[in-house]
Amino acid sequence: MSHVLEIRDLRVEAPNGAVLLHGVSLDLNPGEVLGLIGESGAGKSTIGLASMGYGRGGCRITGGEIRLVGTEMREASRPTREALRGTRIAYVAQSAAAAFNPAMRLDTQILEVPLLHGLMPEAEARAWMLELFRALQLPDPEHFGARYPHQVSGGQLQRAMIAMAMAGKPDILVLDEPTTALDVTTQIEVLALLREVIRRYGTAALYITHDLAVIAQIADRLMVLRHGREVETGPTAALLEAPQQDYTRALVSERRESLGAVSGAHHRTGKALLSVEKVTASYGQTPVLHDVSLTLKRGETLAVVGESGSGKSTLARLVSGLLPPRAGSVAFDGTSLPPRFRDRSPAQLRRIQLVYQLPDVALNPRQSVGEAIGRPLALFRGLRGKALADEVARLLEQIGLPADFAARLPSALSGGQKQRVCIARALAAEPELMICDEVTSALDPLVAEEILRLLRKLQDELGMTYLFITHDLSVVQRLADRVMVMQKGRVVETGETAALFADPQDPYTRRLLDAVPQLRTDWLDEVMAAR
């Protein structure tokens, strides 16, 4: 049988002349799922879009061939290409919330492709949509289509988007990180249903992701990409068992380590550095924290875990004084902290520092690295001139960046480098408690791994105490001494990391732990079978 998609020596260039893809070739068989994996900037999404004959944001396809079900997309006329999109090949984006028109009903948007292209009469299209809704286990399939995007949950919307892509009965789906924006427990449902639908209708797919464990569940073959070049390609199981290239080995072992290793718990026995007593907090009338208490000893790492909406970030804002609690109190090093940061003394402000999830917005784009790191030094420690420059250089060295980075603006740094600068800025204040709010979730796995190593190194050298907020349980396992699981603003369970992972007491904790994808091709089958 012939391939549904053949790409030969594909070259894509950005408007500024940078080469995004240096001659990548691939074949896709009918009904086959090919996983494209790599870090950001590897060219995964570029391949996905190019296979539809499309270049994003002025990117041009400058060489190679793209043959989609027998049609050469580069030579095809615009109407021909447009006729193929949606009918033979369809795209599922990462963020369904951004891909749906908020002002149109879901069914109108889903039926658009089959009706616009005249693929089938409306009654038939509607029946097909209902079948898809049922296959995707959407609630109340008869009436689901009448809803607007904001009336359904994130996981449901992502499934609706899969229905939209399948509406034209395409031969190929391009899935661009379709589950990355979802919570772990939602992710596994969407993943299982997606796999079910693809298999049932024999649809081929290009599955784009940076998460090796996710793709292991669904892909027949994997293609590893880096810097716009193919690193290696092979059947999923074989590639995971015996990666041939160093880069693939690094990716696989990062993922294995992140799931295997249990952190060497520090077991600090010192005094409590931070203690939060029965705090309750709300945004306006909406309560977000109920009766939350925690204690954190000096030199210890406490991970606060939960899905979006669990109140874990609110807890960080509360400790840092950005959101005063309705009730309860926060004490730091034995003395009670004023609820608002404005009422705290400079010393109190200095001793608690925050590192954010998105280094892009946590650094002022008009301040150089040196200025960003130097300001807390000048403000809290009164350093000036040469002493200041020396201290900035020392901090840069400590976080593993060359000293001449001090002159750079954030726009000249990569995501991982920006996060390092954010950490250096926090360190400059010589804090005793560092609140890390999802510091690795916006980073590629290997970069995230380096940041975690840096944090651990700082803890060993400086005896830093971390309040580590995350939804990523593999991070918790590697870094935290103790874990606190939160759900809907309440503490569900607290315990030593190893003990909690080995024997979770609360059903929610168990569900959360089970939902973390593992690097075995049969993991999803096991989980679904166990339900």
């Binding site: 840092s320 925050l354 954010y356 002022n364 300001r375 800025r425």
Partner: protein, 276 residues
């Protein structure tokens, strides 16, 4: 702020700089270059361009070229002064309102809404009628009225910056007001503010023209470009060139200023800390 290097100037920027430089030169030396006085009546009204009068004569038979050269100082001077003052008032207040929020912000913003709901021309008429139309009063009035618009823009732009995490970091560090305004908000608010500056500068030309028409702007016999468009406008009905020259001068300066603004903003048009 640091401007990009002069070496590789795009054509549009070169053109813009040329126009702005020429305007600046006219502002400084215009009256000295004029072959005739701005009040001298030299021939029949609306005479066509000739060797002696390159741009012809205006509705009163005065030399168009000379009046344009004299008018440059008046028009550019009034506009520039008014816009600079309006920014000096509007920007700090807008930033402060965004930064501190709460009741003062709410009251200030609503007060500005009330002022803005009255047409600018009417507010200006009342003030100028009451205080008399001298140059300082004219500039002050325009500046105050314009500052309401600058305030609104600055406030909205700053509100977007204040919620950024880098601004939060600075507040958590205990930074004072001056640092917040000068180092965190201003550099990131510059692009939209500069674009607004270019626009406001040009609008003010036309506003002064409107006031002049009603006899409350720049007082005759002094020339100003906006006023000259108004004065010569009946020439259009007879297919004469006269009104085209001052109108063209305004258009040219407008284009020049905006080309320069666009160039200065190129590569830094991302607002609100979008680094990617």
């Amino acid at each position: 702020m640091t401007l990009p290097v002069f070496g590789r100037l795009p054509l549009s920027a070169l053109l813009g700089l040329l126009i702005v430089t020429a305007t600046a030169a006219l502002f400084l030396f215009g009256p000295m270059l004029a072959p005739f006085g701005q009040e001298e009546v030299l021939g029949t009204p609306f005479a066509d361009p000739s060797a002696g009068h390159l741009l012809g004569l205006d509705q009163n038979g005065r030399d168009m070229l000379s009046r344009l050269l004299y008018g440059a100082r008046m028009s550019v001077g009034v506009s520039l002064a008014a816009v600079v003052i309006s920014f000096c008032i509007g920007v700090p207040l807008g930033f402060l309102a965004a930064l501190n929020g709460g009741w003062p912000d709410l009251i200030g913003a609503r007060l500005i809404d009330v002022i803005m709901s009255i047409p600018v021309l009417i507010s200006a008429l009342v003030v100028l009628q009451a205080l008399g139309s001298s140059l300082p009063v004219l500039i002050g009035t325009i500046a105050l009225l314009d500052s309401t618009r600058v305030f609104r823009l600055s406030r909205v732009v700053a509100q977007g910056i204040v919620v950024m995490e880098y601004a939060e970091v600075a507040r958590l560090r205990g930074e004072g007001l001056w640092w917040m305004l000068r180092r965190e908000i201003l550099p990131n608010a510059l692009p939209p503010l500069m674009a607004e500056f270019g626009m406001r500068f040009c609008f003010t030309f036309l506003f002064v023209a409107g006031l002049s028409y009603l006899g409350l702007g720049v007082q005759p016999p002094f020339a100003d470009w906006g006023g000259m468009v108004r004065d010569n406008q009946q020439g259009i009905l007879y297919g004469l060139y006269a009104p085209l020259f001052p109108a063209g001068a305004i258009a040219l300066v407008t284009i020049g200023v905006n080309l320069v603004v666009d160039w200065a903003l190129a590569g830094r048009t991302t607002v609100q800390g979008e680094n990617r």
